[in-house]
């Protein structure tokens, strides 16, 4: 047994008072969860502490909170691990962000999270005819969408989404991961309609800034941002959707600039995103308008030295050898057959029996690489305060 001090954010909407911090010291085994700590405080000292919780095993998704500032499930964070991330010797627990607080640690998920889920037409629209028996679909396709099905709707990703902080109307990581569950499902009849809807919406798939916060936050390895990137790729590559938000053109300009110059040529990005993929783009009317309206931003960027007048004229110079390496990466990726686009995910570990005993990377690490920093629990752990991303020691 060990003593832990919980610093809980309390808020009573009926009191007329502002939120405040309250300390409770609990006595528990260090490997037990922060939720067990809160439940002990509630059982022993104050039954009025408000928190949603049910399964205690990271399945029901009720107990999303912020622990030492990081989104997490209270039942999925050990007390000793939480202590490692402590800022002042206490375990700080507060409600999730981006959602209104109703009482103590309870937020209004319906107003934000669930209304966004409802936004993405969250049910299967059957491909016709519906077969008498089951739809015959590839094993891999079902495993693939099962990663999105693994989402427990806890709201941790919504809590930490930087885009949503800036644009509260952003459909957001959880709902877009849900959308992928239908776009990736071969039994759904309206892939194209769904993608068009999500691409044309100014708060849709191109509103994500690629910050990885949701991947770190997710306790189940759903990797919402990866699902958003897949939606973008399927939308542009497979369905040829050119959106009115200029998201698709922006991506093409971005990747081509990096391919040609090894590094991003910032000054060229905006004109090429709007005017087309060429140096002459800046003289096109769409690019001109956009350049004009962006003048204040450009001015600020110049003042702060983010771009220089020279940089606008000349791209960054990379040693030839490095540039060749970048080009080789492009050749390898683009040379791959689309049909063989093999994606690692939570359930497809990329682990092969042949690797047993070989000094290859651990399967979780392999997955993590493919997912951009996440592979199931390894990523979940890194999303939790004070937890080291390496594998837990075995007993």
């Amino acid at each position: 047994m060990a003593e832990f001090t919980l610093k809980l954010r309390r808020y009573d909407p009926e009191s007329g008072e502002a939120a405040y911090w309250e300390h409770h010291t609990v006595d528990l085994e260090p490997h037990l969860s922060v939720l067990e700590g809160i439940l002990q405080a509630r059982a022993r000292f104050d039954g009025s502490i408000g928190i949603r919780c049910s399964c205690r095993a990271a399945i029901c998704g009720s107990c999303g909170v912020r622990i030492n500032g990081q989104p997490a499930l209270a039942c999925h964070t050990h007390l000793d691990q939480a202590m490692k991330g402590s800022r002042d010797g206490t375990i700080e627990v507060e409600p999730m962000g981006n959602m209104p607080v109703l009482k103590d640690l309870i937020v209004d998920m319906d107003a934000v999270h669930w209304s966004k889920i409802r936004r993405v037409t969250p049910w299967l629209i059957n491909k016709q005819p519906v077969p008498e028996r089951e739809y015959i679909v590839p094993h891999e396709a079902m495993v693939d969408v099962t990663q999105s099905m693994a989402c427990i709707q806890c709201g941790a990703c919504v809590s930490d989404c930087l885009s949503m902080e800036v644009d509260p109307l952003f459909i957001g990581p959880a709902a877009l991961a849900k959308a992928y569950r239908f776009v990736g499902d071969p039994r759904d009849a309206e892939h194209s309609e769904r993608l068009n809807d999500l691409a044309q919406d100014p708060h849709g798939i191109y509103d994500c800034t690629h910050c990885f916060k949701c991947i770190e936050a997710c306790p189940k390895g759903v990797a919402p941002m990866s699902q958003i990137m897949r939606l973008r790729r399927i939308s542009s590559r497979d369905h040829g959707i050119v959106d009115r938000n200029n998201g698709e053109r922006h991506e093409i300009a971005f990747t081509n600039l990096v391919r040609d110059h090894g590094l991003l040529w910032e000054a060229e990005l905006l004109p090429r995103s709007y005017g087309g993929d060429s140096w002459l783009a800046k003289f096109g009317p769409a690019a001109g308008r956009e350049l004009l309206s962006s003048l204040p931003v450009i001015g600020k960027a110049l003042l702060r030295g983010k771009v220089t007048p020279m940089g606008a004229l000349k791209a960054h110079k990379l040693p030839d050898e490095d540039l060749q390496q970048v080009k080789r990466i492009y050749e390898t990726v683009e040379g791959r057959d689309e049909a063989e686009r093999y994606e690692l995910n939570l359930y497809i570990s990329g682990y092969d029996e042949d690797m047993e005993g070989a000094e290859g990377p651990a399967p979780d690490a392999a997955t993590a690489g493919a997912q951009g920093g996440d592979g199931g629990m390894a990523g979940a752990e890194s999303g939790q305060p004070g937890q080291s991303p390496e594998r837990s020691p075995s007993r």
């Binding site: 009926e14 094993h139 594998r391």
Partner: protein, 565 residues
Amino acid sequence: MPSHDVLIIGAGLAGQRAALAAADAGASVAILSKVHPVRSHSVAAAGGINAALKPEDTWESHAYDTVKGSDFLGDQDAIEIMCREAPDELLHLEHIGVTFHRNDAGELGTRAFGGASAARTYYVADITGQAILHVLYEQITKYHETVNSYEEWFTTSLIQDDEGTCVGCIARDIRTGEMELFNAKAVILASGGNGQTFKPTTNALICTGDGIAQAYAIGAPLMDMEMVQYHPTTLAENGFLITEGARGEGAHLLNSDGERFMEKYAPNKMELASRDVVSRAEQTEINEGRGVGADGQGILLDITVVPRKRTLEALREIVNIGKDFAGTDITREPIVIRPGQHYIMGGVKTDVHGQVPAVHGLYAAGEVACVSVHGGNRLGANSLLDTLIFGRRAGQHAAQRAKSMPMPTTPTSRLRQDLEHIDAIIARERTGRRISEIKDELGTMMNRNVAVYRDADGLATAHETVRRLKEEATTAYIDDRGTVFNQDVLGAIELGYMLDTAEATVMAAIERKESRGAQFRTDFPERNDDEWLKHIDISRNGDEEPHVTHSPVTMTHWELEERKY
């Protein structure tokens, strides 16, 4: 005052399936739950759902396995319905979007499960319950025009008209504290079991037997309440569930000598004998000193014999649970488990349409109900099936019944009684015990005396204790005086529900003087078909003191036999 043709209380698999079926049959539907529907405990069902769908499999084989699994206490007419209708229900789930595992040909694939003579368990990795629950909720969202979802509403009581017909419920909006009276032509209880009366349990904190106690309170008998399932593989550390899918995939059980001891108890089915048999075998090994762990109270589950790639794909959730909650990499070393409370076979007695014969207008489906398809012991992967089949049947039947009825109305003055009860709890002086203390004592005591092995002395102690705790609960106090999310006062009401259902369990276990299924009496170690091939019904009929009666088991095609695995 909301009025609906069909009112469903509880939004797990049984409740949501009932809601969709009733809406399809043309009814206006309300589904009301004390938690958001996807938080329901169905989410925790891991391993899969049984159906004899493969051409070479038959419903008769599935039914026979279920009858045998129930130790012949299951009603065979109900079992036949469940097993016959299983394949269509499974295909329905597939059609609405459940991402079931496929074989290499792209068809639905299966895994093996306990007590089954064929591999007929369909699954989504080891999140089958979650996948089905979330897909049903997708459908509830789609049906938003005909199904009103009341999320985070706590039911305080069922209401009856002058003839005793159930005509709705009273519930509290947890978010505002407001009380509301719901009128309905039919009420379907789908609010789950009472696992929280045991500690530890694999069940979620919300499983407090609410619906069982509410039906019991208005005169519905409870059946098979003595049959409490202990799951063979719960994490020794904290009681979390390790899916039977692990053994389905080939994992072994080992004692402290490293011996696969199931050879002694079930030489044919080994680790895949039915759950009561495996749990008893484990407990015997532990009692005879061959347990593992610091306290010798554990058994080893060895999943390392399953190919690692397969474990990572098909048992992902327990890889995580092992790593996060026990510090064990299950793909590399065995994990310490023990039998733990998991499920109750008993519940509100219903017919095959989900109707409660004793109370007109009332239905029950899922763990809250006892049809009885599980009898003395439920087979793994039959519970999801039970919730869906009987949830759908109850929804359809209730919708039909509603068609020929006027909407009942109950004067809102009926609200006052429940409101006063809540106010009285809030106003209690801090002189009694804390709610949490009583709940703890109840759970620990039940797990000691009403577990895998039972005897007259332990059960008598249990009975005495429950009665004392019931008394103490009437003065137990709470801290929260507010109305918004006052979870404290709901906890006090739940404690009352738990104590009522625990008392029924203890009384039924005392009554059954034989060993059958999950009930093993060390003082009556044999099954005694001559005297005890019958259900035990516990009812209150308005009295404080419960009544114990018996009812016959329905036998159709399957004859009694000795049960061996």
